[in-house]
């Protein structure tokens, strides 16, 4: 039978976002692929050249909307590097907790989309149900469930409300049992294992060379997490370990390894949260007013021409970098150039080539296990 090109087009339930993958199939086997991105290119980098440093933060939330806190945190770190601003320690703790809760919510969204891709529709409702708990916590911090606009250059917008710490502890402790429940449903299911193991091998050297980062290479046995290789915030004071899975095959990490890494990352995030709330300076049940110097320092608002700053940040999907050049419009109030590095932008072409040789039915398994989010890739 002749080979035919199938377009898993922009509108497709599997693609988790708006992009196209054209797949050449011989029967059920894939022989070639082409990935096309850029459907939701919104020109964020250009827009940011006309915005204040504070005004850019909401745009960064909308880069990867599933994982908004981490992206605005990443940008704000780069802006602080450029403007040479200080951040009070309590604000660092608050940012860390917000980022880790966001990581939990994002991984739950990933699992809630990954399960139905493999066929297990129950996971969607379970994961979204649990994600509600964390969205409620973030809503108390940032005001909305998805785009929070929470970090500020020099600190955070507002302090944790009174009682937030108790709610967070209760929810995280409940959630740890729920993770065990997910593992019970999935890891003991032969069908799940049969769909994910042996599919989508990717070796560590190939992945690093190709620019893939984050849980995807940690699944291949490489202990690389930007939270300790390029430390920032207060991750060195909080109890945690990077989640690394050693693959059992020399061919590299398969989809099952990547799934396990994210499950374990969720556990580590829970651990970090429970530890950070104990260690936060100023106490977990005090509330400082917005603008108080415990949570926000007065940062310079202008960056001279020639100054640069960048941040290397461990987002939920990989390493994200912001590179800012100062000296833009309004006599330096705007940056001259904002450049965003999206992990998924690099991962998708790599994964598209990785899929050659597998079956069509493996496409959702492989694609889903790399956790694409097109908002950040298209900027």
């Amino acid at each position: 039978m002749a080979e035919m090109w199938i377009t898993m087009g922009p509108q497709h339930p599997m693609t988790h976002g708006l992009w196209t993958m054209r797949v050449k199939v011989d029967g059920e086997t894939i022989t070639d692929t082409e990935a096309e991105l850029g459907y939701i290119h919104r020109g964020v980098e250009k827009i940011c050249e006309a915005r204040d440093f504070t005004q850019i933060t909401p745009y960064c939330d909308r880069l990867c909307y599933v994982s908004a806190m981490t992206w605005s945190h990443s940008y704000v770190m780069a802006a602080e590097d450029l403007l040479e601003a200080e951040v009070p320690e309590r604000a660092e703790y608050i940012r860390l907790m917000a980022a880790e809760i966001q990581r939990l919510a994002s991984h739950l969204m990933w699992l809630g989309a990954f399960g139905p891709d493999i066929g297990n529709l129950t996971l969607m409702t379970w994961c979204l149900r649990d994600r509600e708990m964390f969205l409620d916590l973030l809503q108390e911090l940032g005001g909305s469930r998805m785009h929070y606009n929470f970090p500020r250059v020099g600190g955070v917008k507002r302090d944790i409300p009174i009682g937030w710490a108790d709610r967070m502890r209760a929810k995280v402790k409940l959630f740890e049992h729920r993770i065990s429940e997910y593992e019970m449903l999935l890891d003991e299911s032969t069908i799940w294992l049969v769909r994910l193991q042996g599919v989508g091998y990717a070796t560590a050297e190939d992945q690093i060379n190709a620019g893939v980062t984050g849980p995807n290479i940690r699944a291949a046995g490489v202990n690389t997490d930007a939270r300790w290789t390029n430390p920032y915030s207060v991750y060195d004071q909080v109890d945690w370990e990077p989640a690394v899975e050693k693959p059992t095959s020399i061919k590299g990490a398969d989809c099952y390894d990547r799934y396990r890494v994210r499950m374990e990352e969720m556990r580590q995030s829970c651990r970090m949260l429970l530890d950070a709330i104990e260690k936060i300076p100023g106490g977990s049940n005090t509330h400082y007013q917005p603008g108080d110097e415990m949570i926000l320092t007065k940062a310079p608002t202008r960056a001279p021409e020639g100054a640069t700053g960048f941040s290397t940040y461990e987002c939920t999907r990989g390493v994200s970098q912001f590179y800012l050049q100062g000296g833009g419009d309004s006599r330096g109030k705007n940056p001259y150039r904002v450049s965003v590095r999206s992990p998924i932008f690099i991962t998708i072409p790599y994964v598209a080539k990785l899929m050659i040789g597998y079956k069509i039915a493996d496409i959702p398994a492989i694609m889903g296990s790399f956790d694409p989010c097109i908002g950040e890739s298209d900027r």
């Binding site: 740890e176 069908i191 499950m263 580590q268």
Partner: protein
Amino acid sequence: MNDWLNLYDFFFYKLHHLMVWLTAGTFLESSGADIGFFLATMIMCLITFGSIMSSMFVILWIERKLYARVNDRRGATTALRSLWVGENGVTAGEWWNMIPYGLGKPIGALNGWLNKVAGNDGHSHEMVNRVGNRSWYGVTIFPGFFQNLADGMKFMIKEHMVPERADKVIFEVAPFLVISSTIMILGLIPLSSGIYGANPELSVLFAFAIFGIAPLGVFFAGWSSNNKYTLLGGIRSAAQLTAYEIPLLLSILSVCIMAGSFNFIEIVNFQHSAGVWLLFLMPLGAVLYLVSMIAEVERIPFDMPEAEAELVEGWWTEYGGMRFGLLFAAEYMRVYAACILFAHFFLGGWASPFAGLVPGGPLIPGIIWTLLKAWFIFTVIFVWARTALPRIRTDQILEFGWRMLLPLSFLQVVLAVIYRLYLFDASALADTTSGGWAWDFMGIPWGVPILTTAFWLGVFWVFMNDENLEEDQERMFHVQTLTPAGKHTAGQE
């Protein structure tokens, strides 16, 4: 043992006498009996089809509600509280207090009890009330029963589209093949010894011959829609259905060997007169039948042909309106037929449990028992598997069917032959209310089924416990640590 509610004979004799009497002396005299037979069959078909279709609402209702419960989408009392909806969708809250004369108080008590037993109050998580009233044994009552009737009406008013470059003739013919073959089977399946549309002598053979026409319709649909996705879905479906026809037919063959007949009614009567349900004599066959049937009706875990993640409804994609509605209904009719057939083949059909031991005759008509058993199997096997399992990849499905189920079904046929020839005591068949004892073994009453069931349960237990624990440890997460972990251990307080 024939059921006491014998509608077929009732209508047959009544109409026979009526038509013979009516046509006496007219030019139709010689065919009066035939006309009577024709009318009786038509009425019986209507009754059978009507009962199956109206009881199919139960199937759809069970699926929705149980699926929602397992997905934790329903609290224990949501259905109860939502019964009364006022203007602007405002619920009346505790609406039972508004019923006059205090008649609503028991409902209020039920609501409170359910919340106490199965709601969040049993757990100490007041902070997390938002994440649903979790319980494993919530009760939902009738609201939602006629949802599927509304769905059917909705399908009727939707637009019927034919893709521009589709092969129009085959595009229209394909749904007919699927739907009509499914409905034709319903005429052959008896709901009781006296409620059936037709009862040819080889009814099992005939029914499964018709059952196997549907894959052809599926393939037609997939090809004619002129769409690469549907083509893939149709091909996958054709391969899968062909692969699983064989273990299905072989397991049914073993049932027929055991029972000594190709007739539904005789198979069920055999189970009663021999004294034990075939489930206990051939558990392997029952499992094979269930797995093959789930694959035949394309439910999760075998629903790769219509996998939404890749194929967006697969071979159904291009159908709209009532054609889609009928295909959808046909799928559930096939599921229902599979459940009823399982009840007949393995669970004793219309006999009540322990019918042979309970003195006196059956009180509840057999059709009720048949339907109850069918609903039970649907709930426990079909719906539960759907909620908990992901789907298997097509080549894995095919490998499973050809390489694992086929040899097992051969084994089952051989076992059936051995059982029937050497372990069956034909002289102990008794077509009485109390049944017979044809399966004794060396003096132990019902020895053969007891030993068989014990053996297969033992095999199952061995497979469950035989894990390579070391292999699991190797695959499981290994933390790469620098210093030993802190005091807090994830997952424990």
